[in-house]
């Protein structure tokens, strides 16, 4: 047996606490390598790269505020609505915590949409970052589920009817659909069992997201951040340590983010919500228009654009699931839209179609709105379907030799 030289282990916890800990659990160097001096990032990242860390912060804000709300909220159909008012009126600082959570959900989506759009524009989904991209989509899906569940909890009219409409979509599953919906509700309609389990899941899923975020960052570290040129780094001088360069840039970005966020929290907390949700849930009275939260509107528009319900549901879920195969639909070796004149226009049109669908999702499903929804649904999917062709036909601009 070969001799293993005795490893020198730091014994002095008082004089060398850092080395002492490092020898036992290297957690500090782990963090330093993840988001500190040990992680080298391209030096040319623009401000669109701030949305990654902002999404992380938005998640933390939701978890912290949510925790305090959970201490006062009651998941019971007879108590839920009143318990929210109890938080708003009687709990010390309760209105602030709830407004932060409510507005925070919307701002989380704004940040994540910007983060996804940045990945799309600069080709961050391409080889070798496909798995990183996948985990991002999974996070997005679970985040949407969490937001949907959370909107049910105040037990207002939109909570109840939104939950009814959305859960009913699953009834299109062949053969077992109706049973799945009843199983999900825990009864024959949205009711107390539904509210209780939605609360349990709404509490659980954010922590699932935290776990997925760790995997997302792990995958990021395998090949490092993409950058606005989309080209791989060739020299060490092209990279800078994450700390202090990007930590301070993210702190500045955080300030820029918190100003509109807090403006909404303190001056327009209800602007993104629906007045009907201040009417207690009433299974006997259907609201005139059932509208989901704004961040679901583009997908809601796709759902309603297609006259056959089953196909509409498939299209709605497909509109997000198609992102999973995006790295294989777009076979162009050039990542960044900066050097892809056709793709660049397509991304702009795609983003415009998402905004258009968002607007159309807020309108009643009739007349010109339906036709426009169908048109923009076609544009939305057309973007993906044209990608293989564009990758073949497009002549990219010359790529820079190194990042600048």
């Amino acid at each position: 047996m070969a001799n293993i030289p005795p490893k020198k282990v730091e014994e002095d916890i008082i004089r060398q606490p850092y080395r002492w800990l490092e020898d036992r659990l290297p957690i500090i160097s782990f963090i330093d390598n993840a988001v500190g001096r040990g992680y080298l990032a391209p030096k040319n990242l623009n401000y669109l790269w701030n949305f990654g860390s902002l999404a992380g912060i938005a998640l933390v804000i939701q978890i912290l505020t949510g925790l305090f709300l959970a201490m006062h909220y009651k998941a019971d159909v007879n108590l839920a609505f009143d318990s929210v008012q109890h938080i708003m009126r009687d709990v010390q600082g309760g209105w602030l915590i709830r407004n932060l959570h409510m507005v925070g959900a919307s701002f989380f989506f704004i940040v994540v949409y910007a983060h996804i759009a940045r990945g799309l524009y600069y080709g961050s989904y391409k080889k070798p970052r496909e798995v990183l991209w996948w985990f991002g989509i999974v996070i997005f899906l679970i985040m949407m589920a969490t937001a949907f569940l959370g909107y049910v909890l105040p037990w207002g009219q939109m909570s109840f009817w939104g939950a009814t409409v959305i859960t009913n979509l699953l009834s299109v599953i062949p053969f077992i659909g109706d049973d799945v919906v009843i199983w999900l509700w825990g009864g024959y309609s949205v009711g107390d069992p539904t509210l209780t389990r939605f609360y349990a899941l709404h509490f659980l899923l954010p922590f699932v997201i935290v776990g997925l975020v760790v995997i997302h960052i792990w995958a990021l570290h395998m090949h490092g951040s993409n950058n606005p040129t989309g080209i791989d780094l060739k020299k060490k001088s092209e990279a800078i340590p994450f700390h202090p360069y990007y930590t301070i840039k993210d702190v500045f970005g955080l300030g820029v983010y918190l100003i509109p966020f807090c403006f909404m929290v303190f001056y327009l907390p209800e602007a993104l919500g629906h007045t009907d949700n201040y009417i207690p849930a009433d299974p006997m009275v259907t609201p005139a228009h059932i509208v989901p939260e704004w961040y679901f509107l583009p997908f809601y528009a796709i759902l309603r654009a297609i006259p056959i319900k089953e196909l509409g549901v498939v299209a709605m879920f497909g509109s997000i699931l198609i992102l999973f195969i995006l790295p294989w639909l777009d076979r162009s070796p050039v990542r960044s839209a900066r050097y892809r004149p056709w793709f660049r226009q397509m991304v702009y049109i795609f983003i415009a179609s998402v905004f258009a669908l968002g607007y159309l999702g807020s309108q009643p499903p009739e007349g010109i709105y339906v036709i426009m929804s169908q048109f923009f649904t076609a544009v939305y999917f057309g973007f993906f379907l044209l990608l293989p062709l564009v990758a073949k036909l497009e002549t990219p601009k010359p790529l820079p030799k190194e990042i600048t």
Partner: protein
């Protein structure tokens, strides 16, 4: 292209801002908009008089009791006297004497609680006011809005979506209540005062929220400027 994109988005968002409301209600300048330091105690008192003497015949305000009025400038003695006038303790919630079942028999539907009414209708406070002053018996106007006539058991109202409301006009004429101050209790004045009161019942935290917001935003502004200067200093050697 970018310009096109953003103008396109702006074009789409412009109508979205007005979407959703079935009936347009006139906007008013309310004292609680902007950054007032405190609730106008006199107006609250007037609104309270209308709310308790008129609205509470049928409606409740179940999240409100008299003790909470002490948060907006009423003394304990005043609050006790006000509660006693209604045969209530200061901890009793403001609920109507009308039982929900009786209300349903009278009006054919449940009578909504008013605590949150200013947050629960498109148009917010402006809507509450518009409904209160929106009754009319002018046959031309009614015929124009409801060519088939007003349905049985309903009343014409200009602001109510569909124009046929189950609630009979609550402010039937001036001087329904006697105000504690010199203010004349016209229909418009009573509607205005009770809307003001209902804003407080809907958002008792409103003024505290707006006040705190100023400090938070000032702090963030300074924080962000300092963060930017620090960022520039740290990045100096990179560019």
């Amino acid at each position: 292209m970018r310009f096109l994109l953003f103008s396109f988005i702006a074009l789409l968002l412009a109508p979205a801002a007005f979407a959703g409301g079935a009936v347009e209600v006139e906007k008013h300048d309310w004292d609680f908009q902007g950054l007032p330091k405190e609730w106008d105690k006199d107006q609250l008192y007037r609104g309270y008089a209308v709310a308790t003497q008129v609205c509470m015949t049928c409606h409740g305000m179940k999240y409100i009791n008299h003790r909470q009025l002490m948060d907006v400038g009423f003394t304990e003695a005043e609050v006790k006297a006000m509660a006693a006038e209604l045969n209530m303790s200061i901890n009793d919630k403001l609920v109507s004497g009308l039982e929900p079942e009786d209300a349903k028999e009278l009006y054919g539907k449940e009578v909504p609680d008013l605590s949150l009414i200013n947050k629960a209708r498109a148009g917010l406070a402006d809507y509450t006011y518009a409904v209160l002053v929106g009754y009319s018996e002018d046959p031309d106007e009614i015929h124009h809005a409801l060519p088939d006539g007003v349905p049985e058991g309903a009343y014409y109202n200009r602001a109510f979506p569909g124009h046929a409301i189950a609630m009979p006009s609550p402010l039937t004429g001036p001087d329904l209540v006697e105000y504690h101050d010199e203010t004349e209790a016209s229909i418009e004045q009573m509607a205005k005062d009770v809307t003001y009161f209902l804003q407080w019942t809907a958002e008792p935290e409103l003024l505290e929220r707006k006040k705190l917001g100023v400090y938070v935003l000032l702090y963030l502004l300074i924080f962000t400027v300092l963060a930017y200067l620090t960022k520039r200093a740290i990045w100096r050697d990179v560019h």
